[in-house]
């Protein structure tokens, strides 16, 4: 593979994100996934003569959320255009999309690659409508068309050609999935087709600033295959160049079954889309007050939450990654922090609160997620509520119970859905922290005549403190808080 290192891949992704609206982008037909064939239809969806589009405000709002979250320039005036092509799943012979003036331009997607933080610039984000679905019966002479999906709103997120490896492309795509889920605009489910990806791939000699001839990879519709397909294409192009050939501009379809791609040869001019500003839809004007209210209510992005965890709470990058994998997990964690007594918006946290936050993260990522994973449960179905987990962490941090006891309490919480306080009371685990009672117990030990010999030894060897602490703890049936016992014992022994 040394040859491969002479070349640098240049990759740009076009990612289609299906927006989680109730109705379609330009009509009132249901946007929901699935359903019996041709049931989510109306005159517009079927492209009946005379049917007209009216834009769904929620689709615009979702596109604006994405644009704001990516730091895009938002066009207060954008244009909806028709993109023409004939295909049975396209009911009007054109798709409503955006061409000259998309709703969002520039901006970037941030993500973490290994330990490095990456920022990939975007060209644009635009609104468009989805096509229906063609089904091909194997070996059949007929294709069947279902228009349930036709007209469902999409945003297309187009990156600059700034990705430099298949792995990075994979992370970028995961970052988009994570982002749209955090923003609440899509379920980001690649397998159900809510997230689809086309990749533009080229290679160039390392160090060159010119772009090589690119090919377009289509149909990479699963996370599993994104990296595979791009890697395959990079190697294919390197092979061509090294054997003295030239990469030709073409569209290639990824064949997941064979793990290879094949050319989708086209006639010349087949892709002249003849864009036309849609005469049925006047310019889209974004009201600035509306935009401001969307910005004000914008959910935090995974990267913002990650920064918060790293910088303010002092969590490790690993913990931060685990917690920001899903918005529900983040929300759960933040609620647990509140219950654990970690203030949410204070400027900085002292070491005590930081370690409490760390403890919270540990309980969540190693204990709770472990159990949930074993039971194939989502965090939303956790028998331990965020409040309960936080309370448990507070009990441990405040020394009400020991860490070891905490584990026992936690397992019982998971089994019984009870709160930690209830379980601690039931098991009588509450630590003894009353100084008068602890002093009494300690005094009983040091005043014991049988102990005087040991006390003399202690004066020579202070390491024997533990022995007296152990005796005092035994006096309290192990309930006293060990740190308190040590401190009190130390002062009593000093008096001797």
């Amino acid at each position: 593979m040394t040859a491969a290192t002479e070349f640098e891949p240049v990759i740009g992704l076009e990612v289609h994100v299906q927006l989680a609206t109730q109705s379609k982008a330009f009509c009132g037909a249901r946007a929901e996934f699935g359903g019996p064939p041709n049931t989510h239809i109306d005159p517009y969806t079927l492209g009946l003569p005379g049917a007209l589009p009216v834009l769904n405000h929620r689709a615009v709002e979702f596109a604006l959320r994405m644009g704001l979250a990516c730091g895009c320039d938002i066009a207060l005036r954008s244009e909806l255009s028709r993109k023409h092509y004939f295909y049975p799943d396209s009911p009007k012979g054109y798709q409503i999309s955006q061409f000259d003036r998309p709703i969002c331009e520039n901006g970037h997607i941030e993500f973490v690659l290994g330990s490095e933080r990456r920022q990939v610039r975007l060209l644009r984000i635009h609104i468009e409508e989805d096509a229906g679905k063609n089904l091909h019966l194997a070996g059949g002479r007929t294709s069947l068309i279902d228009f349930n999906r036709a007209g469902v709103p999409l945003i297309e997120v187009v990156s600059q050609p700034e990705l430099r490896s298949a792995e990075e492309a994979g992370e970028y795509l995961r970052a988009i999935r994570q982002l749209v889920r955090f923003l609440g605009i899509s379920d980001g489910n690649m397998e159900a087709g809510s997230l689809r990806c086309d990749a533009n791939v080229s290679i160039r000699p390392r160090g060159s600033t010119q772009l090589g001839q690119r090919t377009e990879l289509k149909n990479i519709n699963s996370f599993k295959y994104v990296q595979k397909a791009i890697e395959h294409e990079i190697l294919r192009q390197i092979d061509i160049v090294q054997s003295g050939g030239r990469v030709v501009m073409e569209t290639r379809g990824w064949d997941a079954a064979r793990g290879t791609s094949r050319s989708q040869r086209q006639k010349e001019h087949a892709h002249d889309y003849r864009y036309l500003p849609d005469p049925d839809l006047p310019p889209l004007i974004i009201d600035e007050t509306w935009l401001a209210s969307i910005a004000a209510a914008l959910p935090k992005t995974p990267m913002q939450r990650r920064d918060h965890y790293l910088l303010r709470l002092g969590l490790t990058p690993y913990d931060a990654s685990v917690l920001t994998a899903e918005r529900e997990l983040c929300d759960y964690f933040d609620q647990a922090l509140v219950a654990a007594g970690v203030p949410t918006e204070d400027e900085s946290l002292g070491d005590g609160l930081r370690s409490r936050a760390k403890l919270c993260a540990n309980w969540l990522s190693s204990e709770l997620l472990g159990l949930l994973n074993k039971d194939s449960r989502e965090i939303s179905a956790s028998p331990v509520s965020a409040e309960s987990l936080g309370e448990l962490v507070r009990c441990v941090s405040d020394g009400i119970i020991s860490g070891k006891q905490g584990k026992e309490v936690f397992f019982r919480m998971y089994e019984s859905r009870q709160s930690p306080t209830e379980i601690i009371e039931q098991l009588g685990l509450r630590q003894l922290t009353d100084p008068t009672l602890i002093t009494a117990a300690c005094r009983k030990v040091v005043d014991d005549p049988a102990m005087q010999k040991q006390i003399e030894k202690y004066k020579q060897n202070p390491k024997l403190l533990g022995f007296f602490v152990g005796k005092a703890l035994a006096e309290t049936q192990g309930k006293a808080k060990p740190e308190l016992v040590s401190a009190i014992m130390l002062s009593l022994l000093a008096e001797k």
Binding site: P49, G50, F86, G93, P279, D280
Partner: protein, 521 residues
């Protein structure tokens, strides 16, 4: 011998007819029957209707009568008024084809908003009216289904594209019809058939359910016997529709009240602008005389005449043919034989190597389904939208369109309305101009710029001309154009003219053919 005179002719306008129906002086069923009868007697030779929905019409009429008996007739502004609908508008459960073979058998599951509003007002839909295929034409000769003829002289064209809508009203087959107007398709046939027809301000009437030709130019409008009838109809079919994103979100003014308002009062005289470019070379002098006489009669009523200029008018046909064909090529992409209408499937032997059965199906379906004029326009429109040509053609045409609209805006600072001829020529003979598309396009010279600027425009009869060697008088139309949203002003001027003249009351004499007599009672 003469055909039956339908019941509606006895009433002075559709409002009076509706009033009589609501007062139960005459039933909606009687009115409907008499129209159906006349259609049966005359339409074989005229070809106004593509489809007559006898059963459906009688059912609607019965329902209207029932409502009136129950006293639930308050909203029925058009109770029992028979209407014909251009085949460009979708009618629920009634085949709609845009006079094209490609839509053969298509039955819409929904009514166009304008049709739904007519029905809600108690109007009775008689059937679907003939037109040029997809509204592309100025003579109705591009109908793929049957020719339509001018009731004043059946050897001549009724104009187009709403030829059936104009001819049906002229022949008293129905007192009111709906048409669509993309470059003059209501006003030009109204002029050629001697009826009153109006293209409202763009966005005034919903386009929902109207088969699209050129979406930024198309507008639905009424054709009828007088401006007052059109005012009544527009009141019903106009208004905001949430299903059409280009529908004007405005309340409508009271058009009937406007029709009663004098054009001159103590404070203000109507100013009529005469654009010099509309009285130029190419205008039939007999038409010019009629139009100038019409303007003079309004001047006598106190209107002031103002000379104005619209220098960019000369570009309007070029702009129109680039923009309208571009939009049409896009709008007609949906006719692909997949979901409705005609499909031509190639046989196995017809698919060559490297060809796909699907693509061949598309190409054969569209080639067989669209007529020559429609194909010509799809080709032109596809060409001008191709990358590399877009800027030179479509974009530039759209820019000059802006200048045309500015021209009008400037003219309307000097006058309230413009008055012009509607058509430069009298109804021509069938077949006379078919061979030269460009000369056919030039017949739209006076009507097109109104669509480009989105203005309201109306054509009404203003004279009759008998050609040498003929005994059949031919109608002449005068056009009134107003600024955008000033539909009421246009109707006011037309109504004022029709109060002092009776050209709009002239009817052609139509002889039934011997064979048709058997059909009359």
């Amino acid at each position: 011998m003469a055909a039956t005179t339908p019941v509606c002719e006895a009433f002075d306008g559709i409002a009076a007819l509706a009033q009589a129906v609501r007062a139960r002086e005459v039933s909606a069923v009687e009115v409907t029957r008499s129209c159906l009868e006349r259609i049966a007697q005359l339409d074989d030779q005229l070809g106004c209707f593509l489809r007559v929905d006898e059963q459906g019409a009688l059912r609607q009429a019965e329902a209207v009568d029932a409502k009136i008996r129950e006293g639930a007739d308050e909203e029925l502004l058009l109770a029992g008024v028979p209407v014909g609908i251009k085949d460009m508008l979708c009618t629920k459960d009634l085949q709609t084809t845009a006079a094209s073979k490609i839509l053969a058998g298509f039955v819409p599951p929904y009514d166009a908003t304008a049709v739904a509003k007519l029905r809600a007002a108690g109007a009775v839909v008689l059937g679907k009216l003939n037109m040029d295929e997809f509204a592309m034409g100025s003579s109705n000769e591009n109908s793929a289904l049957r020719p339509c003829k001018n009731p004043w002289d059946v050897t001549r064209v009724p104009g187009g594209s709403s030829g059936g809508s104009a001819a049906a009203v002229a022949a008293s087959l129905c007192p009111l019809s709906l048409g669509t107007d993309t470059g003059g398709s209501i006003r030009q046939p109204a002029a050629l058939c001697g009826v009153t027809g109006m293209k409202p301000t763009y966005g005034r009437v919903s386009r929902y359910g109207v088969i699209a030709f050129a979406s930024s130019l198309d507008q639905v409008g009424p054709l009828g016997r007088s401006a007052v009838d059109l005012a009544q109809a527009l009141q019903v079919i106009g208004g905001h529709d949430a299903h059409d994103a280009t529908s004007l979100p405005l309340e409508q003014p009271d058009y009937l009240a406007a029709c009663q308002t004098p054009i001159v009062d103590k404070n203000r005289r109507l100013r009529i602008g005469l654009p010099k470019e509309f009285f130029a070379q190419g205008l039939d002098p007999r038409i010019e005389r009629c139009v100038r006489a019409a303007i003079a009669s309004l001047q006598q009523e106190g209107a002031e005449l103002v000379d104005v200029s619209l220098p960019l008018t000369k570009h309007s046909i070029a702009i129109y043919y680039l923009i309208a064909t571009a939009e049409a090529s896009s709008n007609l992409s949906r006719y692909d034989g997949v979901r409705y209408g005609l499909r031509v499937t190639p046989c196995d032997g017809e698919i060559g190597p490297g060809q796909s059965a699907l693509v061949e199906m598309y190409k054969r379906t569209r080639a067989a389904g669209f007529g020559p004029e429609v194909q010509r326009r799809i080709m032109l429109g596809t060409y001008v939208l191709r990358s590399g040509y877009y800027d030179a053609y479509y974009r530039r045409a759209s820019q000059v369109r802006t200048l045309v609209a500015r021209d009008f805006a400037a003219a309307f600072t000097k006058c309230d309305v413009l008055m012009t001829p509607t058509s430069p020529v009298l109804p021509f003979r069938l077949g006379e101009r078919l061979c030269d598309p460009l000369s056919m396009y030039l017949a739209d010279i006076y009507t097109i710029s109104c669509n480009l600027a989105g203005l309201p425009g109306l054509s009404m009869p203003c004279g009759l001309v008998t050609e040498a060697g003929s005994d059949r008088p031919l109608p002449v139309g005068v056009q009134v154009l107003g600024p955008p949203l000033h539909d009421a002003k246009v109707l006011q001027v037309a109504a004022a003219y029709q109060r002092i003249t009776d050209w709009h009351k002239q009817r052609p004499q139509i002889l039934t053919r011997p064979g048709a007599e058997a059909a009359s009672p």
